[in-house]
Amino acid sequence: MGLTLAEKVWERHVVRRADGEPDLLYIDLHLVHEVTSPQAFDGLRLAGRKVRRPELTVATEDHNVPTVLGPIADPVSKAQVETLRKNAAEFGVRLYPMGDAGQGVVHIIGPQFGLTQPGMTVVCGDSHTSTHGAFGAIAFGIGTSEVEHVLATQTLPVYRPKTMAIEVNGELPYGVTAKDLILAIIAQIGTGGGQGHIIEYRGEAVRKLSMEGRMTVCNMSIEAGARAGMIAPDETTFAYLKGRRHAPTGEAWDTAVEYWRTLRTDDDAVFDTVVEIDASTLSPFVTWGTNPGQGAPLNTAIPAPEDTGDPAAARRALEYMGLTAGTPLTEVRVDTVFVGSCTNGRLEDLRVVADLLRGRTVTARTLIVPGSMQVKADAEAEGLHEVFTAAGAEWRAAGCSMCLGMNPDTLSPGERSASTSNRNFEGRQGKGGRTHLVSPQVAAATAVTGRLTAPADL
């Protein structure tokens, strides 16, 4: 019997296998940021340990950083960022600090630098590490104890998850994006649907996605309960990687591509679970509740709690969100639009937003936050920032920003957002804030009208 993509990559990284124990898995790339690492570095110091492979480790400052350039005003955030700087210097880890041209959201800069490559294992103390699976890597989020473990040993003891295929057949209709696809998948399989699995996204609609779109899909695997999501590498992947700072060159490139071409699920491989989605039936999709599974097509009404899989949770969510069942989603007014995050903070996302804002004016507070300083520079080279500011949107510096509100970019109690980020949890974007997850296209259209709007309705 053949192997799935996940099994091929996994097997290549097993350092040690023993009966009744998890596999000891080698980690090719460890991404570090300021929030989940301080206690891990402390642990190393206490035990007198070093970072085993600092050259396979890279750090950036993203969660706490202000997106208006200048010093960090919050002394607690500042102390955390300074702790990372001290730890990176002490343990010899490369750091892209605030103000550096390489700084950005950890899951944006890995692919941007070509550090994320097919067939690798990638971890980070952040659940959206699943993003990197878009390259055919096994990439998953870990807690601080595991961060310390990887720093000390460059390995992790892990049981191999089960495999799940999500077959996306047919073509996405015009104007329906990778974000709509993943939101629809989560609504279908539920926030626990992928638990214990590595998802492989397959099928015609997935093959046609750009790398940016594939990253958006894999990014939100965790919202479907899966620790990792993957897409087999292909010509789109190779074209994206070629010429990037850390991509192989010359003969090594050819050898690498030859290997990468073998990274596909064998025809006779068997998945533990298979889910099928018909892409041609999809339309712009938004969330109405307080978990990412509580979503619906934008052209429908807010469902009655009893029509959902978890009526008690839906009732609670509607109360928190200040919404009434039966209201058309397009009648929901929003105060703030956030474009950014590791889900939708890449250049391609900013381009589609600019296309929709060009010659128009926003009526809601609109924050546009590039995922990295490189994305910012690239966007500015194309003049996108001028489109944003002419429309009345705020153009910011790179960071996680309003996705989780650890920096000053937050919602006030009761304030409602349309957000291109990944989580609509209670209070996620600020205490009492109400979040609707949307695609960049819907975010831009919503910014113009001040209510949830599909681009086609502009």
């Binding site: 009744g20 000390a152 003891p157 509100g405 209070g427």
Partner: protein, 195 residues
């Protein structure tokens, strides 16, 4: 890591599904660089509601949290585990857990116990009927027991052994340092470095 063998204590029912780690410990609490003091942030937003179950003095000093399904979904923040432990919880019982939370718990000695949804609901109802009910979670026997019921739970042998002994993963892995070096010598040459 603190060893976990058997724990007996009172339980508190949390009748909510999808209790994500942002609720367990909101992001604003993640700015700390120490490992302590997170109990104050546990369910910080929900605790502002006087009707929230953790504010009910009936359940004071409970050490077993009995939650609806999909507990600990979302963010990988291990701070969620620290907050629960520092508040006084030793066990969380739920029908389903977020994978990363469950993993983080077993690294810290907070025991995540998976029971079928109907058993979780039965236990919640019995705790509500008698908040003084003593619940025993026996890791050696892989069993939860209380006056009026018991339920077996599954946990893999390796994780159970590590918890029973209170063993630290890094120490266990470093016994295999030679295997790691051997593996490293065979890695593909084109693989990137960050320097």
């Amino acid at each position: 890591m603190e060893a976990f063998t058997t724990h007996t204590g009172r339980a508190v029912p949390l009748r909510r599904s999808n209790v994500d780690t942002d609720q367990i410990i909101p992001a604003v609490w993640l700015k700390q660089v120490s490992r302590t003091g997170f109990e104050k942030g546990l369910f910080a937003a929900w605790r502002e509601d006087p009707a929230f179950v953790l504010n009910d003095p009936t359940y004071e000093n409970a050490s077993i949290l009995v939650s609806g399904p999909d507990f600990g979904t979302g963010s990988s923040r291990e701070h969620a585990v620290w907050a629960l432990q520092q508040y006084g919880f030793r066990v969380v019982i739920s029908a389903r857990f977020g994978d990363i939370f469950r993993n983080n718990s077993t690294k810290m000695g907070l025991l995540p116990v998976v029971l079928p949804a109907e058993v979780v609901e039965k236990l919640q109802a019995e705790v509500e009927a008698d908040p003084a009910l003593e619940v025993t979670v026996d890791l050696a026997a892989r069993e939860v027991r209380w006056a009026g019921g018991s339920a077996a739970f599954e946990i893999d042998d390796y994780t159970r052994w590590r918890l029973l002994e209170g063993l630290d993963d890094i120490g266990l892995t470093l016994r295999h340092a030679d295997d790691i070096s051997t593996y490293e010598s065979g890695r593909q040459r084109w693989l990137p470095t960050t320097v």
